[in-house]
Amino acid sequence: MVEWSAAERKIVADVWGKISIDEIGPQALARLLIVYPWTQRYFGAFGDLSSAGAIMGNPKVSEHGKTVLGALDKAVKNLDDIKGLYAKLSKMHYEKLNVDPDNFRASYLLADCLSIVVATKFGSAFSPEVQATWQKLLSVVVAALTSKYF
């Protein structure tokens, strides 16, 4: 069981309250595909991913970025049982992406991209203490998402 202190719960709620899913989701997924181009292989059905501009303008990327942050929204609202909440999602990722063990690493990369996009928006408000709690949230989310791999 992951323990969350009152201070951590407050930081998570504060950060999440300032995040626009529709803005941050598409940007985070676009960065994953631009900075780590090998992750594009999972998104063959998304159409044109041939350049940074194409990726950022691709409506399927935007849509899926919002979907991913939608899943994070549920996690934020169920901090005490993220693993249970993500059981089905984990199974789906396992079955769909199982082909390559690197997909495990890709979840960390997506989490890293999300943190960096949040940092560009928040500036100095994304203090080291805020970053630490945010990182804890993402680590728990990634662990839950990849739990079916083990």
Partner: protein, 141 residues
């Protein structure tokens, strides 16, 4: 592989940050210590609290080393031979720590540069940091 445009972008970004090397470097270190506490174990012999003299001085050295690497990007292995030997043989830094630190450098730049830290800049700096830390960790193999 870094393209010519990326190399130029990398040099440009580090040159711009050199005057605030102390701030950037110490912030990145502090982020690493707070977010990934096990990294502190390498610094037990030093006072690395927020604002400490050592944190600032060490932060500055790191950014200067990165800027020098950026200027000598085609000869990183020879330029960094000394630093590489130092991190591998003397400090024995486990390679996973470099990934954690690189992430904290990226977050620091994102906070400072805001929208100027574009996906293109992010991609270029990420590649550069990976290449740099691959050299620092290479003596392990």
């Amino acid at each position: 592989m870094l393209s010519k445009t990326e190399k130029e972008l990398i040099v440009q970004i580090w040159e711009k940050l050199l005057p605030v090397a102390e701030d950037i470097g110490s912030e990145a270190l502090l982020r690493m210590f707070i977010t990934f506490p096990k990294t502190k174990t390498y610094f037990n012999h030093l006072d690395i609290g927020p604002g400490s003299q050592h944190l600032r001085c060490h932060g500055k050295k790191i950014i200067e080393a990165l800027a020098e690497g950026a200027r000598n990007i085609s000869t990183l292995t020879t330029t960094l031979a000394h630093l590489s030997r130092f991190h591998a043989y003397q400090l024995r830094i486990h390679p996973t720590n470099f990934k954690l630190f690189n992430h904290c450098i990226l977050v620091t730049l994102a906070c400072k540069m805001g929208d100027h830290f574009t996906p293109a800049a992010h991609a270029a700096i990420d590649k550069f940091l990976s290449a740099f830390s691959a050299v620092l960790a290479e003596k392990f193999r």
